[in-house]
């Protein structure tokens, strides 16, 4: 279960707080996955008491509103990342970025599907640069839409899709697949990148300008141990 509590002494009108929180949560807590299970209890609340004084934010079009939204969203992202860092049995912190998408919704679905793929997550645990599993998850990510055959998915064009690993140390990206064609992967370099705790998987769809980000972790033996032991 995910629980979150955020408190601020900034003065925010009660009518604006729900949309401020929803926007922040969609970019943060609703963009993480550890094991793909959605709890019965997930709750994130925000309280604003205005104790620090100043002018109350009452308009969605005000500069204060924009600044507070940005502050709250980035704060919620940092909190959400801590949850991923503590994923049961996790040894890796993985950012999944889907870019060049025709729509943000499509990019989010793809990022979410990769983030919950057991085979992607076990490959990450095994330090295996298995772009095939990433591509596989990308390819089926829209099948769950009722009545939509896979060949009608607009976001994914295999010949335009590219997959890279972005190292955590700021060094050059490792291209695994470019425009649907596999690269000759330097396995030594791939192994170096996968030794780091942090990793970014970048999927370029080559079909637009929208993007989405998800944060996830790997699956390890420890996950099974913890949850095989946790009793209801």
């Amino acid at each position: 279960t995910l629980l979150g509590m955020i408190a601020t002494d900034a003065p925010i009108a009660p009518t604006l707080l729900p949309s401020l929180l929803t926007t922040a949560v969609n970019k943060s807590f609703n963009s993480i996955s550890i094991d793909g299970d959605t709890s019965t209890n997930d709750t994130v609340a925000v309280l604003a008491n205005g104790a620090a004084g100043g002018k109350e934010i009452t308009s969605e079009s005000s500069e204060d509103h924009a600044v507070f939204q940005e502050t709250l969203t980035s704060f919620a992202i940092d909190l959400a990342k801590l949850v991923v860092r503590d994923g049961e049995g996790a040894t890796k912190f993985v950012t999944i970025r889907v870019t060049e998408a025709p729509s943000e919704v499509g990019a989010r679905k793809i990022a979410s599907t990769i983030a919950r793929s057991p085979l992607v997550k076990t490959a990450l645990y095994g330090k295996d640069a298995n772009w095939g599993r990433i591509l596989c998850a990308t390819g089926y990510s829209q099948i769950s839409e009722p009545g939509q055959p896979i060949n009608e998915v607009p976001e994914i064009v295999p010949e335009k899709t590219s997959v890279s690993f972005i190292p955590a140390d700021g060094s050059a990206e490792l291209k695994l697949l470019v425009n649907g064609e596999p690269e000759s992967v330097d396995e030594v370099r791939a192994a170096e990148i996968l030794e780091h705790e942090d990793l970014e998987i970048l999927v370029r769809l080559g079909g637009g300008k929208e993007e989405a980000v998800y944060w996830t972790c790997d699956y390890s033996h420890e996950y099974i141990t913890i949850n095989g032991d946790y009793r209801t």
Partner: protein, 209 residues
Amino acid sequence: LDSTIPAAKQKYIPTSGTYPKGFLVSGTHVGVKATNKSTPDLAFLASETPCAAAAVFTKNKFQAAPVTVSRNMLKRRNNTGVRSIIVNSGCANAVTGKGGMEDAEKMGEEADKCFEQPQDGKGGSSIVMSTGVIGQRLPIQKILRKIPTAYDGLGSSHDHWLTAARAICTTDTFPKLLSRTFTLPSSPSITYSLAGMTKGAGMIHPNMA
């Protein structure tokens, strides 16, 4: 730092923080799980004055009792006049039927009693959260007895915030607490604060609205 926290995770635990004015927190041991003999498992976050509040909740069809109770409270109050958040770990109070709903309501009511707030006809003013195992009733009397203790233990220090963050943990290996300061364009001379705590380690793929 706590030696029970894995060395690799110690770096994520703040050693200080800047916390928002007018908020007080505590973490208290109840023993919601009978095996828990000393770890805090009841967190209380309170505002010295009534607040604006909002929350997002799981879209899982089997919503736990505190989810329903808290959502109803915020709706009834139009997101105004909220005083506190009361949270227990160790038992989720989920899929517990009418009795579970009553337990969640009692938790909120007991928290409300701590504040000398005039009745405004809108009912309770506390958000209730629970986390832990599903399908078990809360040891509600144990929790209710400790809410006044949790209130007495409220404070605003970094240690208070960290203990509260610890009290909401279940299988988490470390408490998750952050704070930050910021300014707003219309009042550049005022420094505002944000503080947040979160928990979660498994059953995590949130879809809240």
